[in-house]
C-alpha cells in the first residue's frame, strides 16, 4: 500500500496528528476538560464550513475557529463545572447549528460535509501535509515548554497560584493548543470522531498508571498506533479509516483496564514497575493497587466523579469488600 503517494501522505499526516493530539489529550483527561475538547471540534466544523462559504480553504477555518474558540474558553475558565458544562454544551450546539446553515447555503455541501464530519485522510495533499507538520511541531514545542507549570496547575491550582504560576494564561494557551490538535485530528477522523484520537489515547495512558512524562510520550505512541492501525485496517477491509480508529480507541480503552491473571490488571503491573527508587514499598503498592482498579479507571477518566475521598477509615474496609465480591 505504500507504493501509492496518497497512502504515504496519509501515514505521514498521522504522525504529525498523533504527536500533538496524544499529549494534549493526556492533559485534557487530567484536567477533566474532555468535554471542552469535544465542543472545540464542533466549533471547528462551523469554522471550516464558514471558511469554504466565504471562499477560503477549510483548513484555515478549522484552525482559525478552534484556536480562537479555545483561547476564549480558557479566558472565561474558573466557573463551577456544572455551569461550565451547560455553557459549553450550548456553544457546541450553536456552532453545529451554524455549520449546518453554512452547508445549506453552499451548493457542493454533501461531499464537503462528509469530509469535515468523518474525515478524509486519504485526501490530504502535500501542501496540507506541510501545514499539519508546522502546526504539530509548533504545538508540541509549546506543550513541552509549558508542560511543567501546566502539570502543577492541573494538580494543585491553589498552590501553583501561590507560587506565581499564571493560571489563566496557562489555561488559555492550553485550550488554544487543544484547538490546534482538534483541527489536526479532524483531518484524519473528521470533527465528530476527534474524541477517539485525541482523548482516547490519553485516557488509556492514565488507566495504565503511567507517570506524567511516560504518559505524555505513551499517549502520543498510542495515538500513532491507532491512526496507523486505522489506515492499515482500512486498506485491507475497505471500511472507513475513521471507523477503525474509533473501534481501536474503544478497544484500547477497555483493554487498558482488563485484569490479567488472578485479578491483576495490566495497569498495576506497569505502575509497580515504574518506581525504581523505592523498592520495598513498590511491592505493597502493586498488590494493594489491584482492588480498586475499576473505580480508579472511572475516576481517572472523569476526574469529576472521583469524589468521596473524605472517609479515611472506610477505604480499607471497602477494598476488602471489593476483593471478596
Amino acid at each position: 500500500m505504500l507504493e501509492y503517494e496518497f497512502m504515504r501522505t496519509a501515514f505521514a499526516a498521522s504522525v504529525f496528528v498523533a504527536l500533538l493530539a496524544g499529549p494534549v489529550g493526556w492533559f485534557l483527561v487530567l484536567r477533566g476538560q474532555a468535554f471542552a475538547g469535544h465542543a472545540l471540534s464542533h466549533i471547528a466544523f462551523a469554522g471550516a464550513a464558514g471558511a469554504v462559504l466565504a471562499g477560503f480553504s477549510p483548513l484555515l477555518g478549522l484552525f482559525g475557529a478552534s484556536v480562537i474558540a479555545g483561547g476564549a474558553m480558557g479566558a472565561i475558565e474558573g466557573r463551577a463545572s456544572a455551569q461550565r458544562d451547560v455553557a459549553i454544551g450550548l456553544v457546541l450546539s450553536l456552532a453545529l447549528g451554524f455549520g449546518v446553515l453554512f452547508l445549506h447555503l453552499m451548493t457542493r455541501s454533501a461531499s464537503l460535509a462528509n469530509a469535515l464530519l468523518f474525515g478524509n485522510v486519504l485526501g490530504v495533499s502535500p501542501s496540507m501535509l506541510v501545514s499539519l507538520g508546522v502546526f504539530a511541531v509548533g504545538g508540541v514545542a509549546l506543550l513541552a515548554v509549558m508542560s511543567r507549570p501546566l502539570l502543577f496547575a492541573s494538580l494543585q491550582p491553589e498552590l501553583a497560584e501561590a507560587r506565581g504560576v499564571k493560571l489563566r494564561l496557562l489555561s488559555m494557551l492550553f485550550l488554544m493548543l487543544v484547538g490546534a490538535a482538534t483541527a489536526e485530528c479532524a483531518q484524519i477522523t473528521g470533527v465528530l470522531l476527534v474524541f477517539a484520537l485525541m482523548v482516547g489515547p490519553g485516557a488509556v495512558a492514565h488507566r495504565l498508571g503511567l507517570s506524567p512524562l511516560a504518559g505524555l510520550v505513551g499517549s502520543a505512541v498510542f495515538a500513532l498506533v491507532e491512526a496507523w492501525g486505522g489506515l492499515v485496517l482500512s486498506w485491507w477491509t475497505d471500511a472507513p479509516v475513521s471507523f477503525w480508529i474509533a473501534l481501536l480507541g474503544a478497544v484500547a480503552y477497555v483493554l487498558s483496564g482488563v485484569r490479567i491473571g488472578r485479578g491483576f490488571p495490566a495497569s498495576a503491573c506497569l505502575a509497580a514497575g515504574r518506581e525504581s527508587w523505592d523498592k520495598p514499598e513498590r511491592q505493597q503498592a502493586s498488590t494493594r493497587g489491584t482492588d480498586n482498579d475499576a473505580r480508579n479507571a472511572v475516576a481517572c477518566g472523569w476526574s469529576g466523579s472521583a469524589g468521596g475521598y473524605d472517609g479515611n477509615a472506610g477505604s480499607g474496609a471497602e477494598s476488602s469488600r471489593r476483593r471478596g465480591g
Binding site: L30, R31, G32, A144, V145, M146, S147, R148, P149, L151, F152, A153, S154, L155, Q156, E158, L159, A160, E161, A162, R163, G164, V165, H206, R207, G209, S211, P212, L213, A271, A272, E275, W277, D278, E281, R282, Q284, A285, R288, G289, D291, N292, R295, N296, A299, C300, S303, G304, A306, G307, Y309, D310, G311, N312, A313, G314, S315, G316
Partner: protein, 256 residues
C-alpha cells in the same frame, strides 16, 4: 536573622469581593512560633493565609513575611491549600510531589536525583512513603492529607501555612497529624500557621492562637485569648469557654 518577625501586619485591611474580611489588624508573629488559626467558616482564615502568600494585596496597611513583601518571600513559604477534590486520580503521590518541584518554571516535568531525594525526605517526615507509590484515587482522605503536608514541606520552608490540614480526619488521626506537624516544626525551627476548627486538636502543639471574627483578630497565648471575656469581646456576643479537668476546652455561645 531570628530577630526579624516571621510575619508582621501593620493596620492591615483585607477585602474580598468588595466585602471587608479583616479591618485594621496589627500583629507580629515571631519566628519559630506555632500559631493555631481559628474562627467560624467565612471569618477570613483562608483570606488571611492568601494575603500572607501575596495572592491578595491588602487594601490598607502593610504585611511583611520574613521582613520582605509577601510575594518576594514566597520562596520561603510552604503552603497546604484547603483542597477537597484534587485532580490526577491516576497519578501517584510521587507524581503529585514531583509536580511541585520547579512547577513555576517553564519546561518538561523532569526530576533530578536531588529532586527525588527532596521528595523522599518530605515523604519520610510525614511517614507517607508507604503509600506514595499508590494512585491518588485509591488513597483515603487522611493519606492524601499527609501527602499534601509532605508537599508543603518540600524545600524546607521557613514558614508553613496550613489551611485546615486536619479537616475530615477522625479524632485519633487528627491528633497524630497535629503532633507530627508540631514535631517537624520544632525540629526545623519553622514558623507554622495552621488553621483548624477544633482547638483541642492543637493544644499542646501550638504556642499561640489567632482568633478571627467579625473583621477583628486577636493573637496571644491560649490561656489569654480563649477565655469567656476575651472571646465575647471579639465576637460581640456572649461566649462561654469551659475547661474540663483534663484540660479540654469547649467554646459555646448563647443563642448562636
Amino acid at each position: 536573622m531570628t530577630d526579624t518577625p516571621a510575619i508582621a501586619c501593620e493596620g492591615v485591611t483585607l477585602e474580598r469581593d468588595g466585602r471587608t474580611v479583616l479591618a485594621d489588624v496589627s500583629l507580629t508573629i515571631p519566628q519559630g512560633c506555632f500559631v493555631g488559626l481559628f474562627g467560624a467558616n467565612g471569618s477570613g482564615k483562608t483570606t488571611f493565609l492568601r494575603a500572607l502568600l501575596g495572592l491578595l494585596p491588602p487594601t490598607q496597611g502593610r504585611i511583611t513575611v520574613m521582613g520582605q513583601p509577601p510575594a518576594q518571600a514566597a520562596c520561603h513559604v510552604g503552603y497546604m491549600p484547603q483542597v477537597r477534590t484534587p485532580a490526577g486520580a491516576s497519578l501517584t503521590g510521587y507524581d503529585l510531589l514531583g509536580s511541585d518541584i520547579r512547577g513555576d518554571r517553564w519546561g518538561l516535568p523532569w526530576l533530578r536525583a536531588s529532586d527525588r531525594a527532596a521528595i523522599k525526605e518530605a515523604l519520610e517526615a510525614v511517614d507517607a512513603t508507604v503509600f506514595a507509590a499508590r494512585r491518588l484515587g485509591e488513597l483515603s482522605g487522611g493519606e492524601r492529607q499527609r501527602l499534601l503536608i509532605a508537599q508543603a514541606l518540600i524545600g524546607n520552608p521557613r514558614l508553613l501555612l496550613l489551611d485546615e490540614p486536619l479537616a475530615s480526619l477522625d479524632p485519633v488521626r487528627m491528633r497524630d497529624v497535629a503532633e507530627r506537624i508540631g514535631t517537624i516544626a520544632r525540629a526545623r525551627g519553622m514558623t507554622v500557621i495552621c488553621s483548624a476548627h477544633d482547638l483541642n486538636a492543637l493544644t499542646g502543639v501550638m504556642d499561640s492562637v489567632l482568633y478571627v471574627a467579625r473583621g477583628h483578630a486577636r493573637l496571644g497565648p491560649v490561656d489569654e485569648v480563649v477565655t469567656s471575656a476575651s472571646l465575647s469581646a471579639l465576637y460581640g456576643a456572649p461566649v462561654e469557654v469551659c475547661r474540663s479537668p483534663s484540660g479540654r476546652i469547649l467554646v459555646a455561645a448563647d443563642g448562636l
